[in-house]
């Protein structure tokens, strides 16, 4: 139990690659929290995928003991938040659990869109913000310019920004001092009923669900009986502790402290991020504000490449869902792909992470169908249904109108590429909301349909701006538009997994791109194959894949039989990666690649 005055809780706000993890590593290391020999790169990113992609998916926390220059011992709690837009809600909860932020900006790059999104979250949470200019060791570093940019764009005073090289260690001490000096201590009352925020939770095979909490008021002790205020469930706490960053048990957590509890909770689903934890008896009356149940935004089908692996896939998905309340799934049957699951995700990154984990950790080859957003289908009888899968689009005669989710996208881009970015946004049915200049770069704000963004917008943006643009978005509203289902027919057979919702005005163009792509993706067969895109009965685009001309081994004698046999076996294996539609075999990657748009 630490005096409130000696606690500082903070998070780090940064754009990807601006050095957040390295800075966190340095803070941990310089205070002796971790022995040098135990130190590994990006200490806080636990999963391989997090390390590999340089992103944070789960909130992580570390408690740092620090004796400041004033001679006092402080406890610094760092919450490392997910930085990606997919996890905006999780970020907002983490932000509410701390009182201040370090705003880390790469001094050679400047402010990026993601920095903005996250710093606004910090401002919303009333954080005290300490600007940190990182990577000052780089030759391209321009601290004055970037400090000015922070003032211009974000509107906070950056005159005292700390100049740091997390790589060389310069400025780390100053950063620690600034945390103590400028960030406020938490408030809270020890005598009040327990009120703790559930910041994040994850599943551990040995301990069950581990719950990361921030105590607002009261005291949490071992063996306490606690209640989750949103779902009313009651649990007995069997462990309390903090992360240093390894788990270390302690006896109690008091106001202002951040730590973990375990309570033999079996499913992460029973622990909702943002929920308020109190005691079963004499609990607090009001939960903390701002709780939102998680809402999947993007859906896609996951099918085993090898149909015999369906049960393995089911197990993998169930186990991943145990640890991820924001990931939803239901069984799906596709004429083309057989049995699989329709899964809901917070966004594309979330989708990719889950898909990668299934493939890597469970060794299952997957076919992933095109991501789709959730449409609101308003029926003529006044009912509204949510459409998760374009293949399920009801008969048009019963449909009154369709609404789609829109987003507000913020893009920061060097002037040279502005034209390309505007064109990209216009092509994607965007409506320009704002265009301003921020220290030599343009900041464009667009109102865009999410369905134009979920697939490859980010790839396209990176490509047209040679990687110089940064992008972030937030969901705004559902809006009616002229949306239709486009189906694809290969050799006159409809391929349900390739159906998509498109804007009517864009149907011809999308259909054209799609059939041309498929023509390249489907290998030649012994016969010619018509490939068509259609809306209802009307064909909007058509290509013909001509028949294979030559596929024969010139020489095959006695010594070649075994070799040819092996080749045939390989071919058979390759066929497992293909899906049969009538007489046509379509390679799995076609289901994703066909929908990419190389405008």
């Amino acid at each position: 139990m630490t005096e409130l005055a000696h606690i500082r809780n903070f998070s780090i706000v940064a754009h990807i690659d601006h050095g957040k993890s390295t800075l966190a590593d340095r803070l941990i290391q310089s205070t002796g929290t971790v022995q040098d020999r135990e130190m590994k790169e990006q200490m806080l990113d636990a999963m391989d995928i997090e390390r590999e992609r340089g992103i944070t998916i789960k909130a992580n926390t570390v408690r740092i003991d620090y004796t400041a220059d004033d001679g006092q011992a402080y406890v610094l709690n760092l919450i490392d938040t997910p930085g990606h837009v997919d996890f905006a809600y999780e970020v907002s909860r983490s932000m509410r659990a701390v009182e201040g932020s370090l705003l880390v900006v790469d001094s050679s790059q400047g402010v990026e869109a993601q920095t903005l999104a996250n710093v606004y979250q910090a401002i919303d949470a009333d954080h005290e913000i300490v600007p940190v200019l990182n990577k000052i060791d780089l030759p391209a570093a321009d601290c004055d310019r970037v400090a000015e940019q922070i003032e211009d764009v974000i509107g906070i005073d950056a005159s005292g920004a700390i100049r740091v090289s997390a790589k060389t260690g310069v400025g780390i001490h100053e950063t620690l001092e600034a945390i103590v000096k400028y960030l406020p201590a938490p408030t809270g009352t020890r005598e009040a009923p327990l009120k703790a925020m559930l910041v994040d939770s994850w599943y551990d095979a040995y301990l069950g669900v581990i719950v990361l909490v921030r105590i607002m008021d009261g005291v949490l002790k071992k063996n306490d009986r606690i209640r989750m205020m949103q779902n009313g469930s009651v649990h007995q706490v069997d462990r309390i502790g903090v992360f240093r960053p390894a788990m270390a048990e302690i006896d109690e957590l008091g106001p202002g402290e951040i730590g973990f509890l375990t309570a033999s909770i079996k499913q992460v689903r029973d622990t909702r991020v943002g929920d308020t934890i109190t005691h079963e008896k004499k609990g607090c009356e009001q939960p903390l504000p701002g709780f939102k149940p998680s809402q999947p935004v993007v859906f896609c089908g996951l099918f085993p490449a090898d149909a015999s692996e369906f049960e393995d896939l089911r197990q993998a998905i169930e186990r991943l869902a145990l640890n991820d309340a924001s990931f939803s799934y239901e069984m799906e049957t596709s004429a083309a792909l057989g049995f699989g699951f329709r899964c809901g995700f917070l966004g594309l990154l979330h989708l990719e992470v889950i898909r990668d984990r299934i493939e890597r950790e469970y060794g299952i080859d997957l076919i992933t169908t095109a991501p789709s957003v959730v449409y609101h289908i308003h029926m003529r009888d006044g009912q509204m249904t949510e459409l998760h899968n374009p293949a399920d689009m009801p008969d048009l005669t019963h449909v009154s109108h369709v609404e789609e989710p829109r987003i507000k996208a913020t893009i920061l881009v060097p002037d040279d590429y502005l034209g390309d970015v505007l064109k990209l946004c216009q092509d994607r049915r965007g409506i320009q909301m704002d265009l301003t200049y921020v220290g030599g770069r343009a900041m464009v704000v667009y109102d865009l349909p999410l369905n134009e963004v979920v697939f490859d917008f980010y790839d396209r943006l990176k490509s047209v701006t040679k990687g110089y643009a940064s992008f972030d978005y937030q969901l705004t509203e559902y809006r009616q538009d002229h949306l239709v289902k486009m189906s694809v027919l290969v050799n006159d057979e409809p391929v349900d997994a390739l159906s998509m919702m498109v804007h009517r005005d864009r149907a011809e163009a999308r259909g054209r791109v799609m059939v041309e792509k498929l023509k390249d993706l489907i290998p030649r067969h012994m016969f010619k194959i018509p490939i068509q895109a259609a809306i209802g009965g009307k064909v909007v685009a058509r290509e013909t894949l001509s028949a294979m001309r030559k596929d024969v081994t010139a020489k095959c004698y006695g010594g070649d039989v075994s070799r040819k046999k092996k080749l045939l076996e390989k071919q058979k294996k390759g066929k497992k990666k293909m899906r049969q539609f009538g007489r046509v075999e379509i390679p799995q990657e076609a289901f994703i690649s066909a929908l990419k748009m190389d405008d």
Binding site: H525, M526, R549, K550, D551, V552, C556, G558, G559, S562
Partner: protein
């Protein structure tokens, strides 16, 4: 029930693993060495023939084939020793075919009479191209003039002389090939092997191809056109294709190769040689040590064989189908069923017939002209489950 191999016969393949130079397209087991002790090699072949013959006593031998490498680097005495050893162990068929692959250089042509005297009755010459620029590109050591001279010597020594050409070469146009094939047909007697150049992994061409070199190879469309043209012209000249790349006057087919394609038994001796042998009612795939030195040593210690795998009935059926469909005469359906004990997928058969790829007489499946050029796909379709 007679053993399956008896449908096609029994052959002996002798692999001579040495060449004067490695050709950049060739992925056969060949090595370039300065010193070769031919008597030591002859002795080793003798041992191997003795070993295999002890397992296949009393079989009538339908063919012997000296392949390589470059078997025309063998001394005629070495060839004679091998043929005599075979004769001592197996009764020869009356019409036994004894073939030897030869390079068309003047030095080698000097040995042709010796081969004839040793018992060889058919020569297969690796002429490969009828223009000097392409011969150089293919890494061949001979010129067109030398090849023609060697071919004439071969004709004077043997009734049966075949030669190979490689087409679909770099920068070769349809017209170029048509002209060259026309010249070839004026030389040809009754048998011709015409292979499209294929780029194999592990060859110099393979490496260059991967590195982005080897420009001017024909597109699939052009090589398909070349193949079709070859079929038409050869048929017009009375040398129809009896196999994917082999053309002969009816009756002049290579009996040895027919044993492979009809899925007979064959003993393979020499470095890297493969065999198919039915022993005690079970068919085996055999393979010999690949490196010449290792093979010689292994033979000294009793056997050059380093692999002998029993082949399941299903695999035998598949091998028979893969080989049999290469022939115009096609696949004997009863024989296939006898081997696999499963019916050949009727739906796939039907769909291939509809597409005009195969003909199904009820007793035989034959591949049509259209089907032959995409034979790998036809086979994959028939065998895929």
């Amino acid at each position: 029930m007679a053993e399956d191999w008896r449908n096609a016969g029994f052959a002996l393949y002798v692999h001579w693993p040495f060449c004067q130079a490695k050709c950049p397209y060739c992925d056969f087991n060949s090595h370039v060495t300065r010193q070769i002790d031919q008597s030591r090699w002859a002795a080793a072949y003798l041992c191997e023939i003795g070993r295999v013959a002890a397992e296949t006593p009393g079989r009538v031998l339908n063919s012997i084939f000296f392949g390589g490498g470059t078997p025309s680097l063998m001394q005629p005495d070495t060839v004679a020793t091998v043929i005599e050893a075979a004769r001592a162990h197996w009764p020869f068929a009356n019409d036994i075919e004894i073939s030897l692959e030869a390079n068309p250089s003047s030095v080698e042509a000097g040995r042709f009479a010796g081969y004839r005297d040793a018992g060889v009755n058919r020569i297969s010459m690796g002429i490969q191209a009828l223009n000097d620029a392409d011969l150089r590109r293919l890494g061949r050591l001979h010129t067109v003039a030398e090849a023609r001279a060697a071919f004439d010597i071969a004709r004077s020594c043997f009734d049966r002389v075949s030669f190979d050409l490689i087409y679909a070469r770099q920068e070769q146009s349809l017209q170029d090939w048509q002209n060259e094939l026309g010249q070839a047909l004026t030389m040809a007697i009754d048998h011709l092997s015409l292979y499209q150049l294929s780029i194999e992994d592990g060859t110099a061409f393979g490496d260059r191809y991967k590195a982005g070199g080897l420009r001017g190879l024909p597109t699939d469309d052009l090589s398909a056109d070349m193949y079709q043209l070859t079929q038409d012209i050869c048929a017009d000249h009375g040398l129809p294709a009896y196999e994917v790349s082999n053309h002969a006057r009816p009756g002049a087919e290579s009996r040895h190769n027919l044993i492979y394609w009809r899925y007979g038994d064959y003993a393979g001796i020499g470095p890297g040689a493969h065999g198919r042998l039915t022993l005690g009612g079970q068919r085996f795939a055999t393979e010999s040590y690949r490196m010449p030195g290792a093979w010689l040593e292994a033979v000294n210690s009793g056997s050059g064989e380093n692999l002998r795998n029993a082949i399941s009935r299903q695999d035998q059926a598949e091998e028979y189908l893969m080989m049999g469909l290469r022939l115009r005469s096609g696949l004997d359906i009863d024989r296939y069923h006898e081997l696999s004990r499963q019916e050949l997928n009727p739906a796939r058969r039907h769909s291939l017939i509809e597409l005009g790829m195969i003909n199904d007489s009820g007793s035989h499946i034959t591949v049509s002209d259209r089907g032959m050029i995409v034979l790998n796909s036809v086979i994959a379709e028939l065998l895929s489950v």
